[in-house]
Symmetry: C2
Subunit: 191 residues, 2 copies
DNA sequence: GTCTACCAACCAACTGGTCAGTTGATTTCT
DNA sequence: AGAAATCAACTGACCAGTTGGTTGGTAGAC
């Protein structure tokens, strides 16, 4: 058993990601994380401060990975929605993480990285609309909001639907991309 | 101070609704609920069994109120979406409750009431499509999933958007209804 | 090469406080 | 008198965070 601070840090972060994704901040147990990571609880406090800061580290790591992998393309929003869908299909825990964050984090503390990315995206959408590349029926923030919701709609459904939800991932993906395409189809001004 | 079992039950349920909506099952504190309800913790156990069953009572009461108030109309989905939007604008805690339920409840235990309502709605949509009242581009379950997501999209956004989200409730509502209308506009079969 | 002093990595065991749930007695109404 | 409603005080388990000490790698003296 070699000693390796970097490896231990990583193992803690992985174990914490799993625990927080499953149970949230209030439900997570520091003891369990340490046990799962195969190290002593004290290491966790040495490396990450406390439970809350550990959640921060987990959440920031997820956001970085998400932004890197999904990217953004104001000119092709349907395929952006498809990539969002793909990401959360492959990392269902990350969507839970994002939801816990929204529910359990006090209103004050926002993530700089996300704020900056959002501003960028809103600006890019505005430009694309000014250039006529995408229709301007919805404002940039409306578009982002709707697309995000649609892309994750299957994962955020109440569990009671259960068997009615199609098991075929490709089929569910097509639904998402299709719906976003419809949002972007210009309609006549008349009621 | 009169004694009144019914009133005490109700006060506990109200206090519990607030506490669970704010903090979820793991984060809620039984002591706080009793204090807020202005009664002893033992009453809570006498009337509702334990913490989990108390959450069940809270959640069931919310579902009943929701189903009653929102209703469903397969022939006019945009206005259904508008009513869903309205409901959660007026009871933001209830959307949080639904989210906690999805995150914290073990997969096994579903609510009969919701299962039955879902089945009804799927059947109603199927009929409406067969009658040609609404387009059949999306299947019933796809429609329900998309509409639910769109109606709650503003409330489920990451908090980092903050000031970019329009404060005007009527405006946000129009976005929702508009988006659902677009889903229902038939398109040509060609790619 | 190997000895040694040093420090980072690591941990078992503890602490103080908090939590869900219980008990046995008291009050109030009929 | 008796039943239902109420509660102060208790219990045992658990939990986040700490402490004081041990272990293992390694840099430099010789």
């Amino acid at each position: 058993m070699q000693r390796d601070a970097g490896r231990t840090r990583k193992r803690i972060l992985e174990a914490a990601t799993e625990e927080f994704a499953a149970l949230g901040i209030a439900g997570a147990r520091v003891n369990r994380i340490a046990e799962e990571a195969g190290c002593n609880k004290a290491m966790l406090y040495a490396y990450y401060g406390n439970k809350d800061q550990l959640f921060d580290a987990v959440f920031t790591a997820y956001v970085d990975a998400y932004l890197e992998e999904v990217g953004f393309d104001a000119d092709d929003l349907p395929s952006y929605a498809g990539r969002v869908f793909d990401y959360f299909e492959e990392h269902p825990g990350h969507l839970r993480l994002a939801t816990w964050y929204r529910l359990e984090r006090p209103q004050g503390a926002r993530l700089e990285a996300v704020l900056a990315v959002n501003a960028d995206r809103l600006a890019a959408l505005e430009r694309a609309q000014a250039d006529g590349v995408i229709p301007a029926d919805f404002s940039p923030v409306e578009l982002l909001s709707l697309i995000q919701s649609i892309a994750t709609s299957w994962s955020t459904m109440n569990p009671e639907y259960g068997s009615a939800v199609p098991a075929d991932r490709a089929h569910r993906r097509r639904t998402v991309v299709d719906a976003v395409e419809r949002l972007l189809t210009s309609r006549d001004a008349g009621a």
